[in-house]
Structure formats: structure tokens, C-alpha cells
């Protein structure tokens, strides 16, 4: 358990160190994610070991957003003056991204998987 936490924090630490050291414009934990994923591919035993701890953390993922979300109290004036624009921007971009993403998937799948499906 403690070792699993050390592994997860270790990859985050390595990610943060690399991002700072190389001046990358990427959050450190994202690089840690990529590093851990590659490690899993190379050493599947590590994946079996870490997975229960990681899943425990991810099970409560949505709770972790609350402190940052409460930050809205600092931005009440922005919400008052720009709330409508933000709402429209979020609604339009999310709906369009859903449609564009799904139809791209279906279109490309038809091109690349078409012959395989015909064989089955």
C-alpha cells in the first residue's frame, strides 16, 4: 500500500521535475501519467500491484474537484458579467465536440475496419 503510494507520487515527482527542468508546457502529473502507462506496458507486474490503490483514488475522483470549484466565490463578478457568454460557449463547444468526435470515429472506423467486418 505505502509502496504503491510511493510509486504514484514518484511518477508525479518525476513528471514535475522533468516539466520544470525542460521547460515543457504540460502539467507535471500528465507526464507522470504517461510515464506510469509506459512502465505498465514494460512491467505488467507493476500494473497489478498499483491498480487497487489507483482505483481507490479514482473512485473518489469527483470529490477532489470541490475545493477548486468553491473558488467560484472569488469570481462572482465574472459570473455576473460574463456568465451568459461562458454558458453559451460551453454549451455550443461541448455539443459540437460530441457530434464531430462521434461522427469522425464512425467515418474513420468505416474506412479502416470495413473489410475486416465483412470477413467476420
Amino acid at each position: 500500500m505505502i509502496l504503491n503510494i510511493v510509486i504514484i507520487l514518484g511518477f508525479q515527482l518525476a513528471g514535475e521535475t522533468l516539466v520544470r527542468g525542460l521547460g515543457l508546457s504540460l502539467p507535471g502529473p500528465v507526464l507522470g501519467l504517461a510515464g506510469l502507462f509506459v512502465t505498465f506496458l514494460l512491467f505488467p507486474a507493476v500494473a497489478r500491484m498499483v491498480s487497487s490503490t489507483a482505483q481507490g483514488l479514482l473512485a473518489h475522483l469527483s470529490m477532489l474537484f470541490v475545493p477548486a470549484g468553491v473558488g467560484v466565490v472569488q469570481h462572482l463578478s465574472i459570473m455576473e458579467s460574463e456568465g451568459l457568454g461562458l454558458l453559451l460557449a460551453v454549451l455550443a463547444s461541448t455539443t459540437l465536440a460530441l457530434i464531430v468526435g462521434a461522427f469522425t470515429f464512425v467515418g474513420v472506423a468505416r474506412l479502416t475496419e470495413g473489410p475486416k467486418e465483412a470477413k467476420q
Binding site: 504540460l26 500528465v30 506510469l36 470541490v66 475545493p67 460530441l98 462521434a102 474513420v108 479502416t112
Partner: protein, 238 residues
């Protein structure tokens, strides 16, 4: 005996009170969410955020005082992001099999989410800092907050926008895809994960297991892509 206001003054300064309130608000939010049969509009994070925000405003507590306690919860976002490697690895067979359609949908969906948000935001005359904070809103919160910090946005505003994106996405996704006659659960799920991160993924899991798995992959991959493209887009456009 110490008077109640004095006890409050003492507790309100330390981390214990606000850490407890954050967890309690989430427990209440989660109970309400389950009571409403997990309807997307009864999102537990939204409820908890409103409860804590109201409490801060009523008691006149500044955000930085609150954050002294809440930082312990906030800190866990980093390790949670790293932990996303686990579901990604668990789905590696799916990823390999549908790799090309997924990569195409990832780039198309991710770019649409960022560019349309900025375009509509500009048309609505949003402030520069607001636009920068808006750009990464389709990716999962810990990553979006990290990006926002990097590109000069307001991380807490980004967190709120991420939340709103997820909730709106979870509400519109099923009616939209049904109206368009889209039946491929892989495509529906994947696009949901890309556009509406964890909240959308949770919604997809309720509707269809395949959709849920692909939503998880979409969310994970978009965490990586958004982190790479948003800093460039912000530099070029804003």
C-alpha cells in the same frame, strides 16, 4: 466555558473545520445524487460546491482561509491524474483495436471543443483571462487546472467551467446522439469522454458498458492531447 463565537473564531482559522466541511458537503451531494437516481443535473460536485460556497459567503470566510483546510483534498488531484494510467492500461486492447478511429476522433473532438469555445467566447466579448481559463475546460479537472495555471488563466474559474462542461455534456449527450441516429456505442462513448471528461464518462457508464469503457479512454487520451495543444492555441489565438 468558552462562548460559541470564540470557538468558531478558533476553528475557522485552522484546517480541520474546512476539511471536514468539504467532505461533509460531498457526502450530502452524493446522497442527493443517489436519491435522484443519478440524474446528470443532480451532480454531487455541483451540489457540494454550492453548499460550501454558500457557507463561505454566509460566514464571510475568505477563500484562502477555506483553502488552508481544503488543500489536502485538492492535493490529491495530482496523484489521481497519475492514477488515470490504470484504466488506460486496463483498456489497452480496446485502444489497439480501434486505434485509428480513436486518434482521428480525439483530434477532431478535442480541437472542436477548444476552438468553438474560444470562438463563441470571443463573439460574446469575454475578457482575455476568462477566455484563457475557458480553453482547457473539456479535459479532466486536475489536468485542466494544471493547464490553466501554466497558460495564465484563473485555475479556480477553470475548475468551475470544467464542472459546468461535464454536467451540460452529460445532459445533452443522449438526446443529441439519439436525434442523430448514432448507434455505434464505441463512437458515442469515446466522443463523450473527449468532450465531457469524467462526468460524461460516469454518464456513459450508466447507459452502456462499452460506451463507458471508450469514454474512459477518450477522457484519458484527451487529458494528454489538451495539455499539449492548449498552450499553443492560447499563444497563437489569444
Amino acid at each position: 466555558m468558552t462562548a460559541l463565537p470564540d470557538i468558531w473564531t478558533y476553528l475557522a482559522k485552522g484546517p480541520l473545520l474546512w476539511l471536514t466541511m468539504t467532505l461533509l458537503a460531498y457526502v450530502i451531494g452524493d446522497a442527493i445524487f443517489k436519491r435522484f437516481n443519478r440524474a446528470p443535473y443532480a451532480n454531487p460536485v455541483m451540489i457540494a460546491t454550492i453548499l460550501v460556497s454558500a457557507l463561505l459567503l454566509i460566514t464571510g470566510t475568505p477563500y484562502h482561509t477555506y483553502f488552508e483546510g481544503a488543500q489536502f483534498v485538492h492535493f490529491m488531484l495530482g496523484p489521481a491524474t497519475v492514477s488515470l494510467a490504470v484504466p488506460l492500461y486496463a483498456n489497452r486492447v480496446h485502444i489497439r483495436r480501434a486505434l485509428i478511429p480513436m486518434l482521428a476522433a480525439l483530434v477532431a473532438g478535442s480541437l472542436t471543443a477548444v476552438l468553438v469555445a474560444i470562438a463563441v467566447g470571443m463573439m460574446m466579448g469575454l475578457d482575455h483571462t476568462t477566455l484563457v481559463s475557458l480553453a482547457p475546460k473539456s479535459t479532466t479537472a486536475p489536468v485542466a487546472i494544471g493547464i490553466s495555471e501554466k497558460v495564465g488563466g484563473l485555475p479556480t474559474l477553470t475548475a468551475v467551467l470544467v464542472l459546468i462542461t461535464g454536467i451540460l455534456g452529460a445532459i445533452v449527450v443522449t438526446p443529441t446522439f439519439n436525434a442523430l441516429g448514432l448507434t455505434d456505442w464505441r463512437a458515442r462513448g469515446f466522443a463523450t469522454g473527449v468532450a465531457a471528461h469524467g462526468v460524461g464518462t460516469a454518464r456513459a457508464l450508466q447507459i452502456n458498458e462499452t460506451a463507458g469503457a471508450f469514454a474512459g479512454i477518450g477522457m484519458g487520451l484527451n487529458a494528454l492531447l489538451t495539455a499539449v495543444i492548449v498552450p499553443y492555441i492560447v499563444t497563437w489565438l489569444l
